[in-house]
């Protein structure tokens, strides 16, 4: 949504650092899909897709796609080492049983207490919750990748979400084009600020209060 390729990749690259070897990780549509490309091949990860794949591999070579082998967003994938196919009831059994170490997805709004809104724009778009609700509720760690502000320049990190919630208190980490923000029991903590932004700029465009842990700029 309005973010250039370079910035989208910067967000994805930062998110990739959260992924450790042996994790089982679900990547949502949009910027989250890019994350896989920035995980070093030395870090063995099992990527999970809601349609029924565990262990997706690198993107297929153009022209060699199997149209049946896709991720939940409908884009062609390949099967990696150790991959398995199963029905989508099993795909959600993995989610519901808490076997996902991490889910990385987009958001419309995140509140100071980690409430997530990412599935409905009242009066405009009601696309349905898909699998986002279950992913957000059940994954051990929920990481949100998104623009820091909406298309009107309004903060998306707010005190209380004004949009209908996907799930309450589920978000652990927010990565935007401006900053990395952690959701803690004491509120939001500003962990990193991306160049060329300043702490003050981030705070100005964030409705919720941010505790500044360090002034690290990356």
């Amino acid at each position: 949504m309005g973010l250039g390729r370079e910035i989208r990749e910067q967000i994805a690259r930062r998110a990739a650092k959260e992924i450790k070897a042996g994790m089982v990780v679900n990547l949502g549509i949009g910027i989250p899909t890019l994350v896989a490309d920035f995980v070093p091949s030395s870090v063995a990860v099992m990527f999970h897709a809601e349609n029924g794949v565990l262990g997706t591999g690198p993107s297929p070579v153009k022209g060699q796609e199997n149209p049946n082998l896709c991720n939940a967003g409908g884009f062609p994938i390949t099967a990696g080492v150790g991959a398995s196919y199963f029905d989508s009831a099993t795909a959600f059994a993995i989610i519901r049983r808490g076997k996902l170490d991490m889910t990385i997805m987009g958001a419309l709004q995140v509140s100071k207490s980690g409430d997530l809104a990412n599935w409905i724009v009242p009066g405009k778009r009601v696309p349905g919750m898909g699998g986002a609700l279950e992913l957000a509720e059940k994954a051990k760690r929920v990481i949100i990748l998104m623009n820091h502000t909406d298309k009107y320049g309004e903060p998306k990190i707010v005190n209380e979400c004004s949009l209908p919630l996907t799930a309450r208190g589920c978000v652990d980490l927010i990565i935007t084009e401006m900053a990395v923000i952690e959701v803690t029991s004491l509120g939001l903590v500003l962990k990193e600020v991306f160049k060329p932004f300043t702490v003050e700029q981030v705070m100005a465009l964030t409705e919720a209060q941010l505790t500044v842990e360090s002034t690290e700029r990356s």
């Binding site: 349609n51 939940a72 196919y85 029905d87 009831a89 409905i120 898909g130 699998g131 509720e137 996907t166």
Partner: protein, 235 residues
């Protein structure tokens, strides 16, 4: 159907398969984002002019892909799905009051279809507890002090699924992630019709590789292949 299809040789023509479908029926479809939607059955349904359908399945496909075509052409009066985000026409029709949509969280929908398919009376799920959109109209049941939503099973007059290989008994395998909801949907039809890439003699499939036992399948149709461009393909 049981009277017209040989229980041990279920191969029929596309025309025969379509003869079981009527306006106003509830039709459940396998597939996820168009992948695993049965293309020839859907094309046949379009050409037959079926309308006022209730569709049950994961999503509304894309406007020109899979079941999305039935939605786009106004053949559907009600859709039970987990999202319609990939088909803006569905959203438009819903907003205009021309399409009723019932949403379930995706995993809940899969389990509701499975519950219908295996003959359960309902399932208790905690997904969406506290979420007014999900809770709306649903009974709550407390088990061991924890609150769950009572989610009802889904079945259909006809279930249409897309497999890779079928034998004449209707045993099915699937193609990679086109498996998705198909094995669940295959159990949930009063009549289940499988469209497949290839039909082999009974006995040609290994008992280990069969995903859907043929007893759930009433008829097998040879696919004519996908007749749409995927969203990721170059225009």
């Amino acid at each position: 159907m049981a009277n017209t299809v040989n229980a041990l040789n279920k191969k029929i023509t596309l025309e025969q398969a379509l003869s079981y479908m009527e306006d106003g029926m509830t039709i459940m479809f396998g597939g996820f984002g168009g992948v695993g939607n049965p293309p020839s059955l859907i094309e046949g349904m379009l050409q037959k002019g079926l309308k006022n359908l209730t569709l049950i399945g994961n999503d509304a496909g894309f406007p020109h892909i899979g079941v999305g075509k039935l939605v786009s052409e106004g053949r559907v009066k009600k859709l039970i799905a987990s999202h319609i985000g990939s088909n803006p026409v569905a959203g438009k029709l819903m907003t205009e009051g021309k399409l009723e949509v019932e949403f379930s969280p995706q995993g809940t929908l899969a389990e509701r279809i499975r519950a219908g398919g295996v003959g359960l009376g309902g399932i208790l799920v905690d997904s969406g507890i506290g979420n007014p959109f999900v809770e709306k109209g649903k009974e709550k049941v407390i088990v061991n002090g924890k609150t769950f939503l009572l989610e009802t099973p889904l079945t259909a007059d006809i279930a249409i699924v897309c497999g890779h290989t079928a034998d004449h008994f209707g045993n099915l395998t699937y193609n990679t992630s086109a498996r998705n909801t198909n094995p669940l949907v295959s159990m949930a039809g009063r009549v289940t019709i499988a469209e497949v890439d290839q039909i082999v003699e009974t006995g040609a499939l290994s008992p280990e590789e069969i995903v859907t036992p043929g007893v759930f399948v009433n008829a097998v149709v040879q696919s004519e292949g996908v007749n749409w461009k995927w969203a990721w393909e170059e225009k």
